[in-house]
């Protein structure tokens, strides 16, 4: 079993259809196929081979426009994204409002592995508070599970994909089990200076957690822990882990990695899943709808072969949506299934984002040394004001973390640009001296915070607009609450205080929340739209992503998240997908499905 054509898939029978091949689809297919389940994966984009397609070590001068982002490659020319961005040609979406502040922008990519090929690899666990936010402050929704329910799956995912970090034991910032994490990279000098000065403000800075192999995975120990009693799975995984190289401390992770030193579905989940011979993948397969059996269960799906335009129908015992939160919502709405609660499309969330940067004289003209490291998040600041916030002293209800960094990174169009505020605008030999002096002396802070689900943020089908396949598209409604706006203002104000404490300076003063906050969808952490819960009247799925109204339909992507903690959601999505997949295995083994 392997990459097959739509015509070949028509002839086969499968236990499970998985729609999507990213973090959720990859994890779901991995867990199921390693346990002997026959899976058909449908991916809307083209096949993608990181080993031969990744630009490793290319410099920006080797790219058009020195690698700058364009509407066709929003994160830069070398970014791994294929046929993706906030706009995808022929696949529109619409906004209900003309006001930019009330518009949501939707990032998609159309490639095997989806967004995992280019993501930031930041892998933070939700903490105990994050599962019971409503209990804690009366806002939003509690999860129908506790941290302890998901903790074993966080361990499993971290061991499988390889996550570096440290167990610092801070409030609501869980430790991993012993032996799970890889060692974190040494901090850069800018990280250490931030840590030293932030400490004076009682702001912590600890080792980051990212899915990058700072050393090779332990192929002798980990497969046994991940697949106890399953010799075949252990053997396959041990062999595959040995094919993944450790990071060689060059090449930004957003390009993907040809030596498989970081996590992307295409280099970590799919190779061993394919090696089981239980996985077939059809690419260029755009799912239109879920088909219903007479008994109300899911029969399978209808999809369009992008290459031929032909429609295909496939059947299975279980259908899993892992198409990305909002694409899964769209499929549900277009299928008119699993929506007895009326909650499909409701409570969509992104991460609150606000950035701030400054220049630090102490970091000027430092002796030259290689600062590439693992690319991002050597250190970070987890949320630290839980007690003040709970006491109502902050004016907003949920926390954020800082992703920060600096250093002499690979020059691009921003290098030595816009120095007028520092040097009064120079040219000639003086400009060259200034460029050397200031390069590497900037620090940037990206605040990333929790958005609370609200009634004003939802997606529905646009009554008129269809995509190039004739499939109705989503129309978005969006509005931040005062919690998000207050948080965004706090992010910039606090970053400025840290820069002050470093003896630094900034060209712009911290802004109001309305001005500081990034537009909804810009951080690309969109979740919700088919939230989980313990009440079928108020949620779409149970804690296993199993739809209340269609028992053999599961959702394993971010659509089921009923809150969006400041922790980047991908690790949680994978942990949920692993847990949901084990639940599916149990139901199939017990012939309940």
């Amino acid at each position: 079993m392997s990459f097959i054509s739509a015509a070949d898939a028509d002839k086969n029978t499968y236990d499970v259809i998985v729609v999507g091949s990213g973090a959720a689809g990859g994890q779901t297919a991995y867990t199921l196929t390693m346990d002997g389940v026959r899976v058909l994966m449908l991916e809307a984009g083209r096949n993608y081979t990181p080993a031969t397609e990744t630009p490793m070590l290319q410099t920006n001068a080797e790219a058009p426009l020195r690698g700058s982002g364009t509407p066709e490659k929003p994160f830069g020319f070398w970014d791994a994204t294929i046929d993706g961005g906030w706009q995808v040609p022929g696949e529109p979406y619409t906004s209900a409002s003309d006001d930019p502040a009330r518009q949501f922008v939707w990032w998609r990519s159309r490639m095997l592995g989806g967004r995992t090929n280019h993501w930031g690899r930041i892998s933070l666990r939700n903490g105990p508070y994050d599962f019971k936010p409503h209990t804690r402050d009366g806002l939003g929704f509690d999860w129908p599970m506790n941290y302890e329910d998901l903790a074993p799956y966080y361990d499993k995912v971290e061991m499988l994909i390889g996550v570096y970090g440290a167990n610092d034991g801070l409030e609501n910032t869980p430790n991993s089990s012993p032996g799970v994490l890889l060692p974190p990279p040494k901090p850069r000098v800018s990280d250490l200076l931030i840590q030293q000065r932030a400490r004076k403000l009682n702001i912590p800075a600890i080792a980051g957690h990212r899915a990058v192999l700072t050393k090779p995975l332990d192929h002798k120990r980990l497969p046994q822990l991940l697949h106890p009693g399953n010799a075949k799975a252990q053997q396959i995984l041990a062999a595959d882990m040995q094919k993944r190289a450790a990071c060689f401390f060059a090449t930004p992770c957003g390009r993907g990695c040809s030596v498989r030193a970081n996590y992307q579905s295409t280099t970590v989940h799919l190779p061993p899943a394919l090696d089981t011979d239980n996985l077939d993948i059809v690419t260029d397969a755009m799912v239109r709808a879920i088909n219903k059996r007479p008994d109300g269960k899911a029969e399978g799906v209808t999809y369009i072969d992008r290459k031929t335009g032909a429609e295909h129908r496939v059947k299975a015992r279980i259908v899993v949506l892992a198409a990305s939160a909002l694409e899964s919502v769209r499929i549900l709405l277009n299928s008119d299934v699993a929506n007895g609660s009326g909650k499909v499309g409701k409570y969509i969330m992104d991460t609150v984002g606000a950035n701030f940067s400054g220049q630090v004289p102490l970091l000027e003209n430092l002796p030259l040394h290689n600062e590439d490291g693992v690319d991002g998040l050597h250190l970070y600041t987890p949320w630290w004001l839980y007690k003040q916030q709970l006491a109502g002293k902050l004016g907003f209800a949920r926390g954020y973390h800082f992703e920060f960094g600096g250093g002499r990174l690979m020059p691009g169009m921003g290098t030595a640009a816009g120095l007028e505020w520092l040097n009064g605008g120079t040219y000639g030999r003086k400009f060259k001296e200034d460029s050397r002096r200031y390069y590497g002396s900037f620090v940037g802070f990206a605040g990333r915070g929790e958005m609370i689900p609200n009634d004003d943020c939802y997606a529905e089908l646009d009554p008129k607009v269809k995509d190039k396949f004739g499939i109705p598209v989503l129309r978005f409604h969006w509005k931040w609450s005062q919690h998000e706006l207050g948080q965004a203002a706090h992010m910039q104000k606090t970053a400025a205080e840290i820069i002050d404490a470093m003896g630094g300076r900034y060209s712009m003063q911290p802004q109001s929340g309305e001005k500081a906050i990034k537009q909804g969808g810009i951080i690309i952490h969109e979740v919700g739209g088919a939230i989980m819960g313990d009440n079928p009247a108020k949620s779409v799925t149970n804690s296993f992503g199993q739809c209340w109204d269609m028992k053999n339909l599961f959702i394993t992507d971010g659509a089921t998240l009923c809150s969006n903690a400041d922790k980047n959601p991908t690790l949680t999505i994978m942990a949920l997908a692993w847990r949901a997949s084990e639940h599916m295995l149990g139901l199939m083994n017990r012939k309940e499905l």
Partner: protein
């Protein structure tokens, strides 16, 4: 969007607030750059990331001969050769700026509307002040013009638009130069080499910053 002669002249009069010389009018009446409206296609949403890309590859370059001379002179006024590295124009930055302002994307089209009139203004200013082409000015003459426009925040009102042009041109020149191998070496980038381990900052660095 192409910049027609009328727009060029209008911008020139408004910004420079000087009477342009006949030579400048002649310059402005010649095609400064080929029409860019034909450059519609970019590199697409799935470009080959393993092949070698060069200016003129994904879309045609458009700057005319005279405009390239002005561009080169401005590039080297901003980044001249010194003891550490060669000048910007000697390592392909003119081609890069031509690629940039000829590109089909919104940001680059907007920059084109700053750069082309700015080149025209520079030429007109050289003629007005010194009756010579900008590229033919000696260093003190070039600096006399540059000193009026190198700091956008403090430029005199009649130089405000030209100063915005110069800031944009300087950013493009710097980005074009410091991404090249000699530019990266000059500015002190020593990464992009595979390492067996990452050591972090040396002790000397930590001591300088007060961290050791």
């Amino acid at each position: 969007m192409s910049l027609d002669r009328r727009t060029t002249l209008k911008w020139m009069f408004a910004a420079a607030a000087t009477v342009p010389s006949l030579q400048a009018l002649a310059y402005a009446s010649q095609p400064q750059a080929r029409d860019v409206t034909a450059n519609q296609a970019g590199y697409g949403t799935d470009p080959d990331l393993t092949k070698e890309w060069k200016p003129g590859g994904p879309w045609p370059l458009t700057l005319g001969v005279a405009a390239r001379l002005t561009t080169a002179a401005l590039c080297d006024l901003i980044i001249p050769a010194d003891d550490v590295s060669p000048s910007a124009s000697s390592v392909g930055v003119v081609d890069f700026i031509d690629e940039w302002i000829s590109a089909p994307y919104p940001q680059q089209r907007a920059d084109r509307e700053i750069i082309l009139p700015g080149l025209t203004w520079s030429e007109a200013e050289a003629q007005t002040r010194f009756s010579k082409a900008f590229a033919a000015l000696d260093q003190p003459q070039k600096e006399a013009i540059a000193n009026d426009i190198c700091n956008a925040a403090k430029a005199a009102p009649q130089f405000a638009t030209a100063a915005k042009f110069f800031a944009k041109f300087r950013d493009l020149t710097a980005g074009g130069f410091y991404t090249t191998p000699v530019g990266m070496k000059d500015i002190g980038y020593v990464g992009n080499v595979p390492l067996a381990k990452f050591d972090g900052p040396p002790l000397a660095v930590l001591k300088r910053v007060g961290l050791a």
